[in-house]
Amino acid sequence: MSHTSPPSETLIKTKNLTKRFGRVLANDAINFKVKRGEIYALLGENGAGKSTLMNMLSGVYTPDEGEIRVHGKRVFFRSPEDSIRCGIGMIYQHFKLIEVMTALENIIIGHRENLFVTTPKIRRRVLEIARRYGLPLDPDKKVYDMSVGEKQTVEIMKVLYRGADILILDEPTAVLTPQEIKNLFAILRRMKEEGCGVIIITHKLHEVMEISDWVTVLRKGQNVGSVKTSETSYKQLADLMVGRSLDLSIEHVHIEEKTPVLEVRGLTLTDHEHVKKIDSVSFTLFSGEVLGVAGISGSGQKELCEALAGLYPVHAGKIFYKGENIVGLSSREIIDKGITMSFIPEDRLGMGLVASMDLTDNVILKDYYRSPGPFVDRKSAQEKTIKIIEDFNIQTPGPHHPVKLLSGGNIQKVLLGREIMSRPHLLITAYPTRGLDIASSYLIYDYINREKKKGTPILYVGEDLDVLLELCDRIMVLCDGKVTGVVDTDETTKETLGLLMAGETLESIERMNA
């Protein structure tokens, strides 16, 4: 790592960088600059060209036109190897770590200098780097024992060990808890002080405002503006991103008349190793209500949703739907009662959609069996699909396009569209906006509110606390499978939610405040 140059030195400079994929102009003459000791946020909707730009900087793609200069010298990257040699390290959203190896082994893999995998010298050097940047690192911990945050630390360490002084992070906060995000930001600030240049790709505006010094907004492959973070606002950034003025408030619908629809009493779920995933949880969901479920990922949200949909065996407790206990019913019997679940797992296509099938075959996934006779009724299914495409404004060449070829946002719209079109009596939705850009996210909040106005009770499992507070009527917080508190969104704060998520109870918080 060279720190001989003056602090305000330009690390990366691109000039008219252009990349085409077939007829699609992914990056159109992008000019972009990264200076030492500053954090840059790269903002843009899905498909705006953020990843293309970063992939050119990290040597994955070769530009069609334009030039990249690193430390003032023009470079031609032919592989990621070339780019890291110039000090550019990319941290991908999906970690590329070997689960059965330790942190240290993962850090030096592919970069060892002699026959022995880990020498005391290498170990000292790794720990030295970790200390300098304030990275909490346990070199001997196996990756499979690590939390998501720890894995990310190893990824960062990997590129630092290879001498990177320019760090590119692709949506680093998407999978982190609020506490882990705080830690990550502390690390990034430390790097900035140490003279690194940091680029973070994101579409979470409040994070941009919190961490970055400069913001560059891409739209449709073009750089539509680079602004100083301290001189801009949420509104200006969102408008730049979308290209039109956007209403950034989530409507909060109040429904007066409420009757209990779903009553969960003492629900306990255990996995096959008899570990309690949900521990005597009780709650009531009313009609015309959005009940939020908050919690660190893995607190039992997934299991709770699956149990309600009849996909997870119930160990103890009862689930009453309109007075009837639905525990023990098959998932099809529960679907027939109008309880629908749209669960967006981390990879979007895992459950809920069949990747290689076309839109139409995905739309009929949950009601194909209702048509009379032994044959699948694809004719009426196609009409329904066309209606969903129109209603939800899905970008697709047609109803017979495979869903795996759609963009993430459109895939999610297909899933949610199918669930809402089935006129549900109870909507369970988990992470419906995960990985979506702003415009699509707000569209989905609108659809949820529209359902709410019809009186449909909605269980909304979310991760963005700001959204949960705005969208939901009440929020139930889970920690380790237990309910630590149910709060009214009108009467609570983000801090309280954070403490509940960490395992405090409402009583203990009150005592703290007293």
Binding site: R78, P374, V376
Partner: protein, 355 residues
């Protein structure tokens, strides 16, 4: 430096082009081999074609070899659609033939119109039940079906060997271990000079295509093949569907056994399959599990087998040499699948980033 990159979709035109060039390379390589043996490659190839299609008798022989390949491929494709790797077709054919033979040997004097349907039933049930064993363990205990189905092939084979040497041994064969020949009532009739199996195969192709593409069960099979979790989420009875599908898959293979025993061998023997159970895995896969293509691929395969057995006689080439030709063709065609799925990037002199 060579880099291997996964391709997205490959266009139909390109796929055909890749397959054709693979075939050309195979023939080219085989030519060298034929030259070394002292024959003219062109002559050998022409007589291969002659051997497969040259006379109406040879053509009918090729069709007779196509029939078991088509029906077995259909059975295998059904299981493969669900990502159930049934490589036990060989055993299912044998057990189907066993079921059919039991009827043929037990009730030889029943009229054909009763005996043949009974034998077909015996074939369907024999193959179906044999496939049901690994399906049950997969559905119930998530065992790996690949090894399981493979091992059952050997058990089925040894079962016939036992019958041949023991309980079903033909007393009239002068001590030679063989099972008695079927009564003529137990032999499939002919239509246009070829046993009626060809008509059965064509009907089954149409039915299979209809089943997988149009019916609800077919849809469920495809969903399970993509993801069992998604299938559960959609309310599909996953273990139940696995059991029915694999029973059907095995039953189709079993029917092949019945046809071969009845129309070709006119008895049950250990050579009943002629390796069809394995060859059909290749044909099903090359046909991309699509029913109409299965006919085409199976026919070409049968032609290749028929043609190479002809050149054995015509050129006095040993059987092993003909098999080498077959192997070369297979090697190139299957190998070319790689180029359909992946692309190769060749980068010259990986220089340093700064220049």
């Amino acid at each position: 430096m060579i880099q291997i990159v996964k391709k997205g979709e490959t266009s139909k035109k390109k796929k055909i082009l890749i397959h054709i060039s693979a075939l050309s390379f195979a023939l080219l390589t085989a030519s060298l081999f034929i030259l070394i043996m002292g024959h003219s490659p062109l002559k050998v190839y022409l007589s291969m074609i002659q051997g497969a299609f040259g006379t109406s008798y040879r053509l009918s022989e090729t069709i007779v070899k196509t029939i078991p390949l088509v029906i077995t491929s259909l059975g295998i494709a059904l299981a493969f659609r669900m990502k159930f790797w049934n490589i036990g077709a060989e055993g299912q054919i044998i057990m189907g033939a066993f079921g059919a033979s039991w009827f043929a040997l037990s009730y030889p004097h029943l009229p054909s119109w009763i005996l043949l349907p009974l034998m077909a039933l015996g074939g369907l049930i024999g193959g179906g039940l044999w496939a049901l064993i690994p399906a049950f363990f997969r559905a119930r205990f998530r065992t790996n079906e690949t090894i399981f189905t493979l091992m059952l092939n050997y058990i089925a084979l040894k079962w016939i060997t036992y019958l041949q040497n023991g309980p079903w041994k033909d007393p009239g064969a002068l001590g030679f271990p063989k099972i008695p020949n079927f009564h003529e009532h137990a032999v499939l009739p002919r239509l246009f000079g070829i046993h009626i199996g060809w008509l059965i195969a064509l009907v089954l192709v149409a039915l299979s295509a209809l089943f997988i593409n149009r019916t609800k069960k077919g849809y469920e099979i495809q969903v399970i093949g993509e993801s069992e979790n998604t299938a559960r989420y959609a309310g599909i009875n996953v273990p139940g569907t696995i059991l029915t599908t694999i029973f059907l898959s095995g039953a189709l293979c079993g029917l092949t056994g019945m046809i071969e025993a009845s129309a070709i061998n006119k008895t049950l023997s250990v050579e009943i399959t002629g390796g069809v159970g394995y060859t059909a895995i290749i044909t099903a896969w090359l046909a991309n599990l699509k029913e109409p293509l299965i006919i085409v691929v199976s026919f070409l395969f049968a032609a290749m087998i028929q043609g190479s057995s002809y050149i054995q006689m015509a050129f006095q080439i040993p059987q092993s040499a003909a098999e080498i030709l077959q192997g070369l063709i297979l090697f190139f065609v299957l190998g070319s699948e790689f180029f359909i799925r992946y692309r190769i990037h060749i980068r010259r002199n990986p220089v340093k980033g700064v220049s």
